[in-house]
């Protein structure tokens, strides 16, 4: 078990109240997580003591800032079990990471008639880049269907991989249903045919141990703000084998080796992919988030949040007229649900009045909602600072919602 009182003290926002004086019950962790003082103070401390541009600075601040920045790259490497620091590219977030792959890998490796395979539960960030790439290249986008339980069928993965398939892209954990996808199996199947796999890890990193080496994925993208770190920073892991083939994504300072007016040659990896001044403070803050997660332990975090989320799914399912949307065998920290006759936005607004923050809508998975024939869901998502008491508060509030509409 975690020492919850201690942990909650690390997150100052958890003592916020809403306008009616109701205490915040933050259950919107899938949208963004809260930040511990350790992260907030690291960012302040960076600006107060070490702020400088990096890589080219000879002065002591430049040296300090560069060290903090590059040490975080090592931390990230170790955190996700990558082999090389070169494989760690700092980006704005999951969305930019996937766009980078779609642009750089996509432009060289996808051509007319090729196929890209994704699942039907992907976040728009792991759907639209591939959809638009396919349109542009006259390639095809294939969709692995999602069962009413919110799961994919591993046989369908096999059968939908063709000789023309050039990439498989799949979310580690579904942000709208909570499904933990069988990414290891998908990767094995794809690799048997020599096809690289991109994993959208936005909902996994920070909630469970993730090891890109044992997963053997080829691309892995995640966001700092969803793992208790700062907004504006994320990571794209690219396996060395693909990295060296990829052309730069953006052009500018820090990513070149040599330039004339006519042409440019590009810097070593990974700097080639980090054009311009990066979010230095964001990177340093991300490092603090990793340290913080280590200090609690990711195995513990996984056990605790999955238990909490199962408790939530079970408890909410006892409410009359409430359906849990997605009943996967393996569930992350997310539970989606709907009332028969009450719109998710009305649910969320009434909960908001009670200080409970959940999300309502299509959760950037519109086509999934269309395929399930629902306009959206209410979604509650936990983190390790939540507890069963908060779930009970949610439960009571949802019963009150029902009463208002009856």
């Amino acid at each position: 078990m975690l020492s919850l009182t201690q942990i909650r003290e690390d997150f100052p926002i958890l003592s916020r109240t809403n306008k009616s004086g109701e205490k915040l019950v933050y259950l919107d962790n899938a949208a963004t997580t809260q930040k511990p003082n350790q992260v907030i103070d690291t960012i302040s401390n960076f600006y107060k003591n070490h702020n400088s541009n990096i890589h080219r600075g000879i002065h002591f601040l430049g040296v300090e800032a560069t060290e903090l920045y590059e040490n975080t790259r090592k931390k990230v490497r170790d955190f996700i079990g990558a082999n090389h620091t070169e494989e760690i590219i700092f980006v704005r977030g999951t969305t930019e990471g996937i766009n980078l792959v779609a642009s750089s890998f996509g432009s060289s490796s996808i051509t007319v008639g090729d196929r890209i395979l994704i699942t039907g539960m992907e976040h728009h960030s792991n759907l639209i880049p591939w959809q638009q790439l396919a349109r542009q290249k006259k390639a095809h986008l294939d969709i692995i269907s999602v069962s009413s339980n919110g799961e994919i069928n591993i046989e369908e993965v096999s059968s939908k991989i063709t000789n023309d398939t050039k990439l498989v892209a799949i979310s580690h954990i579904s942000n709208s249903l909570g499904t933990i996808n069988p990414v290891e199996e998908v990767i094995q199947i794809a690799h048997r045919r020599g096809i690289p796999v991109l994993v959208d890890g936005a909902q996994a990193v920070g909630h469970q141990p993730v090891n890109v080496n044992s997963l053997d994925c080829d691309f892995y993208a995640f966001s700092g703000h969803k793992m208790f770190g700062p907004t504006g920073i994320g990571v794209l892991y690219v396996k060395e084998e693909y990295l060296s083939q990829m052309s730069p994504y953006q052009f500018g300072g820090e990513m070149i080796r040599s330039v004339t007016y006519e042409d440019a040659s590009f810097a070593d990896l990974p700097h080639r992919f980090e054009a311009g001044t990066p979010d230095i403070a964001g990177v340093v803050g991300l490092g603090a988030a990793i340290d913080y997660l280590h200090s609690i332990g990711l195995d513990k975090i996984k056990a605790y949040t999955e238990d909490l989320s199962l408790y939530m799914a079970k408890k909410l399912s006892t409410i009359e007229d409430l359906q849990i949307i997605g009943k996967p065998q393996f569930r992350g920290s997310i539970v989606s649900f709907n009332f028969d006759q009450i719109h998710p936005h009305d649910v969320a607004t009434i909960l908001d009045e009670k200080g409970i923050a959940i999300r309502a809508g299509h959760h950037c998975t519109m086509p999934l909602m269309q395929s399930m024939n629902i306009p959206g869901t209410s979604r509650a998502s936990v983190a390790f600072y939540n507890d069963k008491n908060e779930i009970d508060i949610l439960y009571e509030a949802l019963k009150a919602v029902k009463n208002i509409f009856n």
């Binding site: 936005h345 607004t349 306009p375 009150a400």
Partner: protein, 142 residues
């Protein structure tokens, strides 16, 4: 139930939500316009004719939250058979109310049920969804 909740989901809203007025498709309507809120996914159609300057046979159909649905329902009850100028006038008054301006003129009482939504800026668009579409249509027709 707290007072806040009572006032936010006022009984007027709840009534129009569970029993929306003029809630029907009419494919032979002279005008069919869409009211879509990409943020929420709320999606209604407004059906009506224009006889000269008069809005007639106004109905709506579609899917949305209690707030957008009840607001659209009230829109149809208030404005069927009214002149375009009357719609514009009421719409202006309504927008004033929703932006928190002091109320000088008379406004149909049902609309005051939506004032607590002011405290939830993310939901204002739900209140005005049907109204905005009709305004936009009328502006484009000028």
């Amino acid at each position: 139930m707290s007072d806040n909740l009572k006032s936010l989901y006022h009984e007027v809203i709840l009534k129009h939500n569970s029993d929306p007025q003029n809630f029907k498709k009419r494919e032979d309507a002279k005008y069919i316009i869409e009211a879509y809120n990409p943020v929420c996914g709320d999606q209604f159609k407004l059906y009506f004719d224009l006889d000269g300057n008069t809005i007639s046979n106004l109905s709506f159909h579609g899917y949305g939250c209690a707030i957008s649905k009840s607001s659209a329902s009230i829109l149809t009850t208030l404005l069927n058979g009214k002149k375009v100028e009357e719609f514009i006038n009421i719409n202006d008054l309504f927008n004033n109310v929703l932006s928190g301006k002091p109320l000088n003129d008379k406004i149909p009482e049902e609309l005051l049920a939506f004032t607590p939504v002011i405290a939830h800026p993310g939901r204002i668009k739900c209140v005005t969804l049907g109204w905005d579409s009709l305004t936009e249509f009328l502006n484009s027709e000028k």
